[in-house]
Structure formats: structure tokens, C-alpha cells
């Protein structure tokens, strides 16, 4: 009994790929070089050779486990994709400054005087012209119709300063051109274009009663892809924010200068701000939802796995019953119990691996890079792509192996324990 609990748990949690590989190696060596191992190998071959005769019931194991692994991998890929999108947005050497207590940019207000004081801190990197690399940014929200539902959803409009481009070197213009400072021109993120209607380059958009022209599209590969970018001052005048902004993004002279910057700003009684590296800021935003999706995925996966285990048990008990006479004959001519157990277990786990691979492949084919969006911290849509990574595929396979192990162990033990005399009299 204990084996049935311990081994799958080890399989699921503690086994890196090299450990499993080593185990497979040991098993292969055992089968090749010991007498009992060779017996196991030949019994296993017979079992596997008879699978085509039991195609219907064997496919129950394969499809059942494929379902579990497919759903599990797809759900976890959703969480991983969301977390990756936000985490890639932040770096250790750029810093976001907001009003104390604001938590997110949309809640924050930074007035002009504060912005000037913050950018003058000695830890802010200066460019070749001796100007600090900092961007006063203004995050506001506009309601636009989504392509998928036709319903209004919030899109984030980010006003950026002229040095915003130096702060996001990953960002590439993929169509049109950058907006001109001082004009009502917008640059749209690749993700936003995919999710919202009427954001093509050249079209116009009404924001707070004023007409804006979309002059280009960009791809940054991170959360900024969900945003529309314009000039901070122009966005500010459209939304009547005066000279205030919602955050200051700046580049540090070096990644280690963060603590010094924090201390400098904290010691200045004229300003009340919260400072964090952009990596921290975006990581924090991803935590909650990623956690919820992880819990949801594992719960759904576990319940489905329980169903699949009983399906596998049924199939393997039936398989063992169908082969009872054959197994009893083997035992009668001197085969021991262990080869029988090993063969049934290996057969189930082979089916399980097939199922796991099928489910993982389906999840990958359907969901890798599938784009979706959800409401993010700034009360606006964050567009992200499902990320079916090799690590997720691997953990799906481990689930499959664990299910196969439990589903095969009990029938295997029963096959080995069935008295020879009873077995020989079976149908």
C-alpha cells in the first residue's frame, strides 16, 4: 500500500529528469544482466504484444491520461504565459517611482516638482548629452470594443516621455513610425491590435472627445504590448491632468544603486514616493493571478487524475483477467511473481506515457502561443500568450507516469498473487 502512495509522490515532486533517466538505466541493466530481469523482459514483451487484441480497453488508459495531461498542461501554460509576460517587462536596473501607497500606476499621482526632484537623484544614469534617462509617464484608461465579444473593455493608454525608448530597448517599431511629440498621435502595441477593434495604423480614435491618429505599431514582447503609447504632455492635456503624471521610470547608473536611490529619495522631506525596481513591480502584479491559476490547474488535474486512475485500474484488471491462464502457466513452469508484477506495471506505464505524450502534444499544438487577455493591475486588459514550455510538458509526463504507476500496481499484484490452480481454471 505504502508503495502506491510514496512512489507517485516522488515521481511528481522530487524527480528531475536525470534521476528518472538513471532509474530507466538501472531497470534496463537489470533486465539485460540478471536472470529474473531477463524473465521480466520476456513476460513484458508478451504483454505488450497482446495490446492490439485489447485495443479498445487499452485506449481508455491512453485517452484518459491524455485528457488529464492536456487539461493540466493547458491551464498551467495559461498561468505561466501570464507570469512570463509581466516578468519580462521588468528589469533590475530600471526603477519605477509612484506616490506613496499607490500600489499601481493607475492609482498614482506624481506632481511636476516631485518628478523633477526624483530625476535629479545622483543614481539616475545620464545620457551622452548629460540628461537623466528618465521618462515621466501617465497611465490612463480608455474603453474600446473587443474583437472577440464586441463589448467594451479597458485598454491602457500610456503617455511616455522622450527618453522612454532608451528605457525599453526591446521595443521595436513593426509598422509605421513613432509618434511626434506634441501631436495627438498614438503608437499601438501588437497585443492590443490583436484584441481590440479598429486599431490599425492610419485609423483614428476618439479619446475623451479628441481625435487621435494611429501612426505606428510596436512589439516589445512584454506587457507593454497591451498598451497604446502617446506623448505624456498631450495625453495629460487630453485627460486634463495638468503637468502631473502617474509614475517616473528611470535607469540606474548600475543595478546595485537601487538601495542608494531609495535612501536618497526617502531622506528628502519634499517628496513622498514609493520606489521599486520594475522587476519587483511587475513580478508582484503577476503573483496573485498566477497563483490562482496554479491552484485551479492542480485541483482540476487531481480530480481528473483520480478518474483516470480508476479507468486504468479497470482496464488493467480486465487485461490481467484475460491473461490469467497465460500468467498461471508461466508461474506453473517456474516463473516467479516479480517478473509478472514488473511486466504489468511496465505495460501500464507504457500506455500512460503514450497518453501523456498525446495529451502534451495536443496541448502544445492547440495552445502554445494562443493569445488571451485578462484584467490586470491597471484596470485594463493585459494581453498574454499561453506558454507551453518543455518544463510543463515534462511535468505533464510525470503526472502520466504517476497515474500509470498507481493504475498498474494493484492489478499487477493481483496477477502475481492469483493461485496457480485458480488461474489455470479461468476461461
Amino acid at each position: 500500500m505504502a508503495v502506491a502512495v510514496v512512489v507517485p509522490i516522488v515521481l511528481l515532486t522530487a524527480s528531475p529528469w536525470w534521476l528518472l533517466l538513471a532509474l530507466v538505466g538501472v531497470l534496463a541493466a537489470w533486465m539485460a544482466f540478471t536472470r529474473i530481469g531477463r524473465q521480466s523482459w520476456s513476460v513484458t514483451q508478451v504483454g505488450i504484444a497482446t495490446i492490439p487484441q485489447r485495443l479498445g480497453s487499452s485506449s481508455v488508459v491512453v485517452v484518459g491520461i491524455a485528457g488529464v495531461v492536456g487539461v493540466l498542461v493547458a491551464l498551467l501554460a495559461m498561468g505561466a504565459g501570464f507570469a512570463a509576460t509581466l516578468q519580462e517587462t521588468g528589469t533590475d536596473d530600471t526603477v519605477i517611482v509612484m506616490r506613496a501607497g499607490a500600489q499601481t500606476e493607475i492609482n498614482s499621482v506624481v506632481d511636476h516638482d516631485t518628478a523633477v526632484l526624483v530625476t535629479q537623484a545622483p543614481q539616475v544614469l545620464k545620457n551622452a548629452q548629460g540628461r537623466p534617462i528618465a521618462s515621466p509617464e501617465l497611465v490612463v484608461v480608455a474603453a474600446l470594443a473587443k474583437k472577440s465579444t464586441g463589448l467594451d473593455a479597458n485598454v491602457e493608454v500610456r503617455g511616455v516621455g522622450e527618453r522612454a525608448w532608451d528605457l525599453r530597448p526591446n521595443l521595436k517599431i513593426i509598422a509605421g513610425r513613432k509618434f511626434k511629440p506634441g501631436l495627438r498621435e498614438l503608437l499601438v502595441g501588437k497585443g492590443a491590435v490583436g484584441q481590440f477593434k479598429d486599431l490599425d495604423v492610419g485609423s483614428t480614435l476618439k479619446l475623451n472627445g479628441q481625435v487621435w491618429t494611429i501612426v505606428g505599431a510596436f512589439d516589445s514582447g512584454d506587457a507593454h504590448n497591451s498598451e497604446l503609447w502617446g506623448d505624456t504632455d498631450v495625453v495629460g492635456s487630453t485627460y486634463r491632468r495638468g503637468s502631473s503624471t502617474t509614475s517616473i521610470i528611470l535607469r540606474l547608473t548600475e543595478a546595485g544603486a537601487f538601495d542608494a536611490l531609495k535612501a536618497t529619495l526617502a531622506s528628502d522631506p519634499r517628496i513622498k514616493v514609493d520606489v521599486s525596481t520594475t522587476r519587483d513591480y511587475y513580478n508582484k502584479q503577476s503573483e496573485n493571478l498566477a497563483q490562482i491559476i496554479r491552484v485551479l490547474g492542480t485541483t482540476v488535474g487531481t480530480i481528473m487524475a483520480i478518474g483516470a486512475i480508476f479507468g486504468a485500474l479497470n482496464t488493467m484488471y480486465a487485461a490481467v483477467a484475460a491473461r490469467a491462464r497465460e500468467i498461471a502457466t508461466l508461474r506453473a513452469i517456474g516463473f516467479r511473481g516479480l517478473p509478472v508484477i514488473v511486466s504489468v506495471l511496465l505495460e501500464t506505464m507504457l500506455l500512460a506515457i503514450l497518453g501523456g505524450a498525446l495529451g502534451a502534444a495536443l496541448a502544445w499544438a492547440i495552445f502554445d502561443n494562443y493569445t488571451a487577455s485578462t484584467l490586470g493591475a491597471n484596470f485594463s486588459q493585459v494581453v498574454f500568450a499561453f506558454n507551453v514550455s518543455p518544463a510543463l510538458l515534462w511535468s505533464g509526463l510525470k503526472w502520466a507516469l504517476a497515474i500509470g504507476f498507481i493504475g498498474g500496481l494493484f492489478p499487477a499484484v493481483r496477477a502475481a498473487r492469483l493461485p496457480v490452480t485458480v488461474g489455470l481454471r479461468e476461461l
Partner: protein, 387 residues
């Protein structure tokens, strides 16, 4: 019904197999119950019957933008309106950002527009009479163990006070309940007085987040909504007015397409389930070919044999499914008691049971039909001789 005993004993002819299949069915319907409960919770958020005669007016740009309070008398003058109230999102945090719950600054008459929440007259008066007073939903009060008279400090994230302090302290003067258990999810809110907010806040003075309007005639909702939006057409604060359900539905749909996710998972689960129970039924009929032949020999018609096998598979599904849904009901109940109505889980009630039972019967029929036809078409001579 007279064959029930026969069907029952056929079902448990192979106990282990039937029990394992039942457990698989149970797991599938446990999952169905939980997921449908989540789906229902989100659907209820957008479609409660209680809000049919209310309109919500927000800024056309986005609901994060404020509207001037000066709109109030002009909206009140629109014909077809019984009462107008307003509120402002506050977004305060209690102790830790993880404790998130909605908190809003509301006008004096705000609660009058929501007859589905019950608050005693004494508490209602106390709320109006206490500058720093606050009322909370029962679920929220239970969660944090708040009692009347408690002081509740909230950390402002958007609105610091005039002196720059982020801490707002409120006096709990009332606890309200939702009359309809479906709306329990809405008991998770804290309201305080808009007048206090307006006086103490550093930003957004003299403006409100949204207007809530009660119609005198719900048949004229569209005209009234258009009339309200016309008030501010071409101004710098254009509005968008829609029914409360439409507003909430749009808000909920921004989180994710819950229906699509739940549907996809359930599709995978039930596809597997059909295959699994179908295999069990096929095995069961294959084993019993001689017995079915005997039944036919002693006079059972083809139709009765078809009926017997079909009933057996439907019984299998219903038995496992009912237990599964019952377990889901218990689990949801426990989670709701432990975490309060804040988790998006609806009670496993009538509608979920109806959908579940329909699924059980349909799936039972699908998996039973092929083996049943096989049983029906058996030729007695062949079957008895084991050919």
C-alpha cells in the same frame, strides 16, 4: 420499474469493475459540479434579476474617470427617473493587499436604491448621522470578525487625505445582509459616506465615479439612458449609461471568458468519460452474451433487452453522477463557510443539479446505445452456442 432488480444485479455482476467505473463517473461529476458552480457565480454577477430597474452612468472614456457632481440635478430632471444616487470607488486596503474587497464612498440615499440588501432602520439612520460611519456586508464582517462600533482603518491607494496621510479610519455602524442567497457574493463590500470623502480627500473633490439611477418605469430604460447621455453630449465629460446587468456583464467579461475555459475542460472530461464508461458497458455486454440469449429464450422481446442494457448504463451514470454532485455540493459548502462568499463559487442548487442530471442521462444513453443494439440483435442460437 418491475425489472429494476434485474438491472441492479446485472450492474453489480462484476463488483470491482462497476465500483471503479462509478468512481470515475463520480470524479467527473464532482469536477462538473465545482466548475459549474464557478461558472454560475460569474454568470450571477452579471445577471441578477434584482438590478433590472437600475441604470449605471459612467464616463464614456472609461469607468476610471470621474464625472462632475453638477450632473446630479440635471439627471434628476430627466423624465422617467424615480431616484438618482452616486458613488465613488475608493480602493482602500485593509491591513494587507491580499485582503482585497471593494470599498466605495456612497451618497446618503445610495442604499435606498438597493432594496435587495437589508439594513435595519436604526443602522440606516446611524450611517446617515455619522460622518465617519461605514456599513459592511455580513460576509465581510464575518471574515474579519468586525462588530458594530469597531474602528476600521483603510490604507488609501488612490486618495490620500488633505494632509497627505494615507490612513482613513471608519466607524462601523451597520451590517447589511443580502435577502436573496444568490447575491451573497455582493455582501463583500464596505460603504462609507461620500460627504466625508469629498471633504477629506485631496483629489477628486466635487466629482463622483458613477451615477446609479432607479427607473420609475423599467420599460423605458433605453429612452432614459439616451436622455441621460444627451445631457453631456459633446462636453468634456461624455457619459455612457447602461443597465446595471449590462455594466456588470461587461466588467466580468473583462476578467476572462470563464464560460469558454470551463466549457473546454468539461469537453475533455466528458469525452474521456464517454470512452471509459462505454468501454465498461461494452465489456459488460460481451461477457453476458449467453445470459442475454437466455433472457430472449424465455420470452424477453428485443425491445426489452435493448431497454435493459440502456437502463443499466443510465443507472450507472446517474448513480455515480448523483454521488459526485452531492460531494461537490458538500465541498462548495465547506469552502464557502471557510472563505466566505468572496470566492466565486455558487451554491450547488437546482439549476446545477438539473444540468448535471440531464448530462448523466444523455451520456448514459450515448454509452449504452451501441452495446444495447448489439444485445438486441443477438441471435439466440449463435449466442447460446458461444459463436
Amino acid at each position: 420499474m418491475k425489472y429494476f432488480h434485474l438491472i441492479w444485479s446485472a450492474l453489480f455482476r462484476r463488483k470491482t469493475r462497476t465500483v471503479f467505473t462509478l468512481l470515475s463517473v463520480l470524479a467527473a461529476f464532482l469536477l462538473f459540479g465545482l466548475l459549474d458552480s464557478v461558472r454560475t457565480a460569474f454568470a450571477n454577477a452579471g445577471g441578477s434579476v434584482a438590478g433590472v430597474d437600475r441604470l449605471i452612468t459612467v464616463s464614456k472614456v472609461s469607468f476610471t474617470m470621474a464625472l462632475p457632481k453638477s450632473l446630479l440635478p440635471r439627471i434628476e430632471a430627466v423624465p422617467g427617473i424615480a431616484q438618482v444616487s452616486y458613488a465613488n470607488w475608493f480602493g482602500g486596503i485593509y491591513q494587507d493587499p491580499k485582503n482585497f474587497f471593494p470599498n466605495e464612498a456612497v451618497a446618503e440615499n445610495f442604499l435606498d436604491l438597493y432594496p435587495e440588501w437589508s439594513l435595519s432602520d436604526a443602522e440606516r439612520t446611524a450611517f446617515k448621522g455619522t460622518r465617519t460611519g461605514a456599513v459592511v456586508g455580513a460576509t465581510l464582517a464575518r471574515k474579519f470578525n468586525w462588530k458594530l462600533g469597531d474602528k476600521i482603518p483603510l490604507q488609501a491607494t488612490i486618495f490620500p487625505q488633505k494632509d497627505g496621510s494615507n490612513t482613513w479610519t471608519f466607524d462601523l455602524v451597520g451590517i447589511f445582509h443580502a435577502k436573496d442567497p444568490k447575491l451573497e457574493g455582493q455582501e463583500n463590500v464596505l460603504f462609507f459616506n461620500w460627504s466625508y470623502f469629498d471633504e477629506a480627500s485631496r483629489f477628486r473633490n466635487g466629482s463622483v465615479g458613477w451615477y446609479a439611477t432607479k427607473l420609475s418605469d423599467r420599460g423605458r430604460a433605453d429612452q432614459v439612458a439616451q436622455a441621460i447621455d444627451r445631457l453631456s453630449a459633446d462636453s468634456d465629460h461624455e457619459t455612457k449609461t447602461q443597465s446595471e446587468q449590462a455594466f456588470t456583464a461587461a466588467l466580468v467579461s473583462q476578467f476572462a471568458d470563464i464560460g469558454l475555459i470551463v466549457g473546454a475542460i468539461m469537453g475533455a472530461v466528458f469525452f474521456t468519460l464517454v470512452l471509459l464508461t462505454g468501454n465498461t458497458m461494452a465489456q459488460a455486454v460481451r461477457e453476458r452474451v449467453p445470459e442475454l440469449a437466455v433472457l430472449k429464450t424465455i420470452g424477453f422481446s428485443n425491445k426489452s433487452v435493448l431497454g435493459l442494457v440502456l437502463s443499466e448504463s443510465v443507472l450507472l451514470l446517474v448513480l455515480g453522477g448523483v454521488i459526485g454532485l452531492a460531494v461537490a455540493g458538500v465541498v462548495v459548502g465547506i469552502v464557502r463557510v471557510k472563505l466566505g462568499a468572496t470566492v466565486p463559487l455558487a451554491r450547488v442548487g437546482g439549476p446545477i443539479w438539473l444540468r448535471g442530471l440531464a448530462l448523466m442521462v444523455v451520456i448514459g444513453f450515448i454509452v449504452g446505445v451501441l452495446p444495447a443494439i448489439r444485445g438486441m440483435r443477438l441471435r439466440i442460437v449463435d449466442a447460446l452456442s458461444g459463436r
